[in-house]
């Protein structure tokens, strides 16, 4: 019975030419979004591959060279090491920060104190507005519009025309009738969105993405269902199809355009983005001062670390530079930490307030699951910082003592390898986002259900 009615609802939908136009347009938008994301992800993968090839050939050469003779550590340190963030697990899902942050950084011993170029900025919710046509944009912005085009008139038009009276007179529970129609009419668009998500997942990095993809799929469907529930709720009160369309259009503007902008402005006001120039200026000031005191610094360094003192206490330029750099690093560290803490505070605020609009929650969850969100880039930045320390610890003693690099050192050369965030971390963030959306959806559904009890048809049938 129910499945027969479901079929009839679908047939009714299929008789509307607009429905087909919407379906084709949505498919085109999804395809374009995926293609765009695929292009960017492809470029980034190529870069990552090229870098790792360079690294391999450099290490092969180094190994071969060290096999024959030892080497001045300065020569190797000067080459630097590339710290690379591996391609995101599901890059097609959302571009996120990946087109802002290079995702790789050259770590050079002489430049350790310079502020990193990797920008890991606030996941600015109004980036949604920037018009980056990726899959997440299509899903967060356009998906609700296409969905609403199908479901804006679930009952309001029937109420206007009088078919609702005839339907209800048959003794159908109004909520059951409304829900069945809502799901039938939403089905084609929901199915297309789900399919596209799976396609995006096929181009993910191999292995370990199944859970991310499953969650992404759940997020996409939950986000879609939120809009369907909103349409259901609006149809409970709207007296005509036109007024239902107007209300839902207004809701879209509010939730997709206004709310992210407002949240962004509020977060910027409450937790201003730390100033990058300030960070750079602090570095300059510290290095200016440290250089003036270069000789003194070196002397006190050797007093503290007599084991590192070069033969005859004759420090060379490299040793002096490293000492100054260490001092600059220590001086700038609090500023850098404050900078990071401020960014984290912003992001935490966005995370806390994301349920102001499911559009924000969905976008946050999708970028997070894609692996192009704030948190993965932050993890990369922190690991690069730690890696800089490793590089300093490895080369500094050798350079002071003027010890050559030998084959024995080869295996111990600092190499960067990114450790992915523990699954529990992103899992928790995404699950909370998902649960929030489901709660909002459930609340709307519950409200509609309470309004539509079979014994309370008076507002409907007149």
């Amino acid at each position: 019975m129910t499945s027969h009615l479901f079929k009839l609802e679908l047939r009714l939908l299929a008789r509307e030419r607009v429905a087909w136009v919407m379906l084709v347009l949505f498919a085109a938008a999804l395809g374009y979004g995926l293609w765009n994301g695929g292009r960017l992800a492809g470029q980034q993968r190529e870069i990552a591959v090229a870098i790792s090839k360079d690294k391999e050939s450099f290490h092969a050469q180094l190994r071969e060279y060290l096999g024959r003779q030892s080497l001045d550590p300065k020569a190797v340190a000067g080459q630097g090491t590339m710290a690379v963030l591996p391609p995101a697990p599901l890059p097609l899902l959302a571009t996120g920060q990946s087109d802002l942050s290079p995702g790789h950084e050259s770590v050079v011993l002489w430049k350790l104190a310079a502020p990193a170029d990797t920008r890991s900025e606030l996941e600015n919710p109004s980036h949604l507005l920037a018009g980056r046509f990726d899959f997440a944009f299509v899903l967060v912005w356009l998906f609700p519009l296409f969905l609403l085009a199908m479901v804006y008139d679930l009952m309001a038009g029937d109420r206007e025309s009088g078919t609702l009276r005839l339907a209800l007179a048959q003794g159908v529970a109004p909520m059951q009738w409304l829900l069945r129609r809502a799901l039938a009419r939403a089905l084609p668009i929901l199915a297309l969105a789900a399919l596209a998500t799976l396609v995006a997942g096929m181009f993910g990095s191999p292995g370990g993405t199944t859970l991310r993809l499953t969650l992404a799929l759940a997020v996409v469907l939950a986000y879609g269902l939120f809009w369907v529930a909103l349409a259901v709720a609006v149809n409970v009160v709207a007296r005509s199809a036109a007024s239902a369309a107007t209300s839902l259009g207004a809701a879209w503007v509010l939730l997709v355009l206004v709310a992210p902008t407002l949240l962004n402005v509020s977060v910027e006001t409450l937790y201003p983005t730390p100033s990058r120039p300030e960070l750079v200026a602090a570095g300059r000031k510290a290095s200016g001062e440290a250089e003036k005191r270069g000789g003194d610094l070196l002397n006190s360094f050797y007093r503290d670390h007599p084991e590192l003192a070069p033969p005859g206490q004759q420090a060379d330029f490299a040793a002096q530079h490293l000492t100054v750099q260490g001092e600059v690093g220590r001086a700038v560290e609090p500023v850098r930490q404050k900078f990071d803490a401020q960014l984290a505070q912003q992001q935490t605020a966005v995370g806390r307030w994301r349920f102001v609009s499911p559009a924000i929650a969905a976008h946050e969850a999708l970028t997070d699951l894609a692996g192009t969100g704030y948190w993965r880039y932050r993890a990369f930045r922190e690991q690069v910082n730690a890696f800089k320390q490793t590089v300093a610890d490895f080369y500094t003693p050798k350079i002071h003592r003027r010890e050559p690099l030998t084959m024995a050192d080869y295996e111990r050369l600092p190499r960067f390898s990114f450790r992915e965030e523990p699954a529990g971390d992103w899992l928790e963030r995404a699950a909370v986002g998902l649960a929030g959306m489901l709660v909002l959806t459930g609340a709307l559904g519950l409200w509609a259900w309470r309004r539509l009890r079979p014994s309370r048809l008076e507002p409907l049938s007149n």
């Binding site: 009839l8 005839l166 209800l168 007179a169 048959q170 079979p454 014994s455 049938s461 007149n462």
Partner: protein, 233 residues
């Protein structure tokens, strides 16, 4: 069986149905006459549970409309004054859709037979309802009422828009249904049809039943004069 007990409905202080007591037994065709605004449609809406009464109660085959509205509606076949259907569906599809909503599945053959019984030309059954005349839509409504096989039938000016031949056929159908034990409440302005089809005639004035006659008892009375007498009283 259709029953109203001291049923009262007010709209913004204006009493549309006033302390109305009705009992329509199986096999009875009760014609409800009354001027515009007398409360006929309101009474039908109360029996369908589309309106909540301010006082009193409506019952369908014993089921209280207020407490068990779904059960009550499932026992009612209802033909509104204007049968509104989905213009993008054909006649058969509309009949299929609405009768399935009421919990009854029919095969295509059964649906076609129902439409035929209701007097819809066979060529029209698979045409979109958007191309139908008002009378043709009304016939789909009649087919739907037949499909529900309900023991209570609510009719709100059902023959408005039907041509005389179709109207006559509908009369025959109505009598046949009554013969099968269906209780019929028919709001109408058609004194001729009321006299022909009804077993009882009620005259509703300002939501109150001003007259209630067995058709047999007023065989030789001019119904029009009787009706006008009530109006002037």
């Amino acid at each position: 069986m259709l029953e109203t007990l001291k049923l009262t409905k007010r709209f913004n202080g204006h009493v549309a149905v006033n302390d109305l007591n009705l009992l329509i037994k199986p096999g009875e065709v009760f014609a409800l006459l009354g001027p515009n605004g007398a409360g006929k449609t309101t009474t039908i809406n109360l029996l369908l549970g589309f309106l909540t009464p301010d006082a009193g109660e409506a019952r369908v085959n014993g089921a209280s409309v207020a407490t068990d509205p779904i059960a009550a509606r499932r026992q009612i076949a209802y033909i509104p004054e204007q049968v509104m259907l989905y213009p993008r569906f054909t006649g058969v599809e509309n009949l299929d859709y609405f009768s399935t909503l009421g919990g009854r599945r029919h095969t295509r053959e059964e649906l076609l037979a129902l439409l035929k019984r209701a007097g819809l030309p066979a060529e029209a059954a698979d045409r979109r309802v958007g191309t139908y005349s008002k009378g043709m839509r009304q016939k789909v409504g009649i087919a739907l009422a037949l499909a529900t096989e309900a023991k209570a039938l609510l009719l709100d000016e059902p023959t408005s828009g039907l041509d005389p031949a179709a109207s006559h056929e509908f009369s025959l159908l109505l009598r046949k249904l009554a013969g099968q034990g269906v209780a019929v409440l028919m709001a109408t302005h058609d004194l001729f049809r009321a006299r022909e089809d009804a077993t009882r005639i009620g005259i509703l004035l300002d939501g109150k039943l001003a007259g209630d006659y067995a058709t047999n008892d007023i065989k030789h009375v001019d119904l029009e004069k009787l009706y006008l007498k009530h109006l002037r009283a």
